[in-house]
């Protein structure tokens, strides 16, 4: 358990550039809050969805303060619509700013996706076209968000089920260019990478060769499920409700072997199992981190 902390020297120099410790975290679910708060040492950091803690007052904010006190905190936004056609929602930026000011999080992250259009919020991370006008729009939005929020953000790669014929950029090059232009870091979701590679017949190795791994400030692992599309072909869905698959653990090991140890988050948003089940997954991640660390020392 302590291996991850005793081998600091092999961590990439910029591991956790926004301050998350290079260990294992968990996406915090309400059902597990009290058990984890009773023994915060079970995980090295926690991640919350920003939109779940935007209350004006009341017990939700008291809980938030306890969480921020107990761990390095990762605030993960799902509603900013960074890839949207429209300007960022100022009201939402204000709410994020309030949350960040209140908790001084170790990391703030959002998604390469859109979720709002013409005043409607779709409660999903919808795919963007990888073309130059979109790239420029995303860069403007991230610059605006980082300026307004006063933090460097991490941008997460999406899982997608459709690709647009209008896309002219490789997804990884698109992300790399955004990071270079805005100074933001990347949140590498290896489950999303695995899902998108499977669905679009991409190579994960090739994808990874297009980004500078030093930009990665956090890694997500999560589960996916397989369904059949209308043509009977298997489509992987980022369900966030399944155990982390073996290929995703393998991809994690590959990434940290190549790029160095990073803060790794076990993410589960639906069909929440007992905490003990999730802690088995965090243990698996720890074993991978320790294995990688020893290999690096040898």
């Amino acid at each position: 358990m302590s291996g991850a902390h005793s081998t600091m020297s092999v961590f990439a120099p910029n591991a956790g550039p926004n301050g998350l410790p290079p260990g294992v975290g968990i996406g915090l679910k309400r059902a597990h809050c009290e058990a984890l708060l009773a023994d915060p040492s079970l995980v090295d950091f926690v991640e919350i969805h920003a939109e779940n803690f935007m209350s004006a007052g009341g017990p939700n904010l008291i809980l938030l303060d306890r969480i921020a006190e107990a761990w390095p905190l990762s605030i993960h936004g799902v509603g900013l619509s960074i890839g949207g056609k429209e300007r960022l929602d100022r009201e939402h930026l204000h709410r994020l700013r309030k949350l960040i000011d209140r908790t001084s999080p170790a990391s703030f992250s959002e998604h390469l996706a859109w979720s709002s259009h013409d005043g409607v919020y779709f409660n999903d991370l919808l795919p963007v076209v990888y073309d130059t006008p979109t790239l420029n729009r995303v860069i403007v939005n991230i610059n605006e968000a980082q300026d307004f929020l006063g933090v460097r953000m991490l941008l997460e790669n999406p899982s997608t089920y459709v690709a647009f014929s209008a896309s002219s950029w490789h997804e990884a090059e698109f992300l790399q260019q955004i990071a270079q232009s805005t100074g933001c870091g990347l949140l590498l979701d290896v489950n999303n990478l695995y899902v998108s590679c499977y669905n679009h017949d991409w190579s994960a190795q090739d994808w990874l060769s297009h980004i500078t791994l030093d930009l990665v400030g956090e890694i997500h692992v999560a589960g996916h499920e397989a369904i059949q599309d209308a043509e009977g072909q298997t489509l992987l869905i980022d369900s966030h409700g399944d155990p982390v698959g073996e290929p995703v653990f393998e991809l994690l090991e590959h990434v940290i072997t190549r790029g160095g140890i990073r803060p790794v988050l076990v993410e589960r948003d639906n069909d929440i199992p007992p905490l003990s089940v999730l802690l088995q997954e965090t243990d698996q991640v720890r074993q991978i981190i320790e294995r990688t660390a020893y290999a690096a020392v040898l």
């Binding site: 007052g57 009341g58 008291i62 259009h117 779709f122 409660n123 919808l126 089920y161 599309d229 489509l235």
Partner: protein
């Protein structure tokens, strides 16, 4: 591109561009996550109409009233009005009131904090009568021509008191000591709730009818509502008040 994508997400018919049925994943995901959000906010309505009917209802609601904010606890603002206007359910007018009540409970949980009146002595209670006061930010009053509160309780609390079929009920929903609470309004509360929604002093209320014999009752009710944290001072505490 995003405009047509957004449009197709809410359309009932599948777009022709969806060659492999993959766009459908987004359409389904939208409906499932929003149904789940509504299910979390409206558990008693779901019990009353049944799980399948509720699912079908939410499909219609999602298409007609998609969310306008990324904060899912605010989704369902129009659900009660949608239920009132949904003609197949016109024989069940209490459903909309139960929905109002459930939505109010969620809003009460997230509402702003404020200071309460100190009501620990006769002197502090008398002092409170001259202090400008308002309803706690968590307060919603649900006026129902049906026994909506009793119906709601019967769905979620197995030991709830049996309801009186033709009763009308006015429920007050608010947050007290960090717990969302609800109670039946007393007959004299309506006047007080209306008055303090305008940020007034109690003295201003009774000055309108100083000789009315009901003033004593109103004072008693005011003190009750202030102790419960339903009526609170409008400004930061000074002597006579506390958090």
């Amino acid at each position: 591109m995003q405009a047509s994508f957004a449009h197709a997400l809410l359309e009932t018919d599948l777009p022709e561009v969806d060659e492999h049925g993959r766009f459908n994943v987004y359409r389904n995901n939208l409906r499932i996550t929003l149904r789940n959000a509504l299910r979390t906010t409206f558990p008693a309505v779901e019990k009353l109409v049944g799980e399948d009917y509720f699912s079908a209802l939410t499909l219609l609601y999602v298409e007609r009233h998609p969310p306008r904010s990324p904060i899912m606890t605010e989704y369902g603002h129009d659900f009660a009005a949608f239920l009132s206007g949904f003609s197949p359910l016109s024989d069940y007018p209490y459903l909309a009131d139960v929905a109002r009540l459930e939505f109010a409970r969620v809003q009460a949980y997230h509402a702003a904090d404020t200071h309460n009146f100190r009501m620990d002595s006769e002197a502090s209670a008398i002092a409170a009568l001259d202090i400008r006061a308002m309803l706690h930010p968590s307060v919603t009053v649900v006026v129902s021509e049906n026994p909506a509160l009793s119906i709601w309780r019967a769905q979620l609390e197995p030991d709830a008191t049996p309801l009186i079929p033709d009763a009308t009920e006015t429920a007050i929903i608010w947050r007290q000591d960090d717990l969302v609470t609800e109670m039946l309004a007393h007959a004299d509360d309506a006047l007080l709730l209306r008055h303090f929604a305008q940020s007034q002093t109690f003295a201003a209320l009774i000055s309108e009818f100083p000789d009315d014999p009901s003033v004593a009752t109103l004072i008693a009710r005011f003190i009750n509502l202030a102790i419960a944290g339903i009526i609170v001072p409008t400004h930061t505490p000074i002597e006579g008040e506390m958090k």
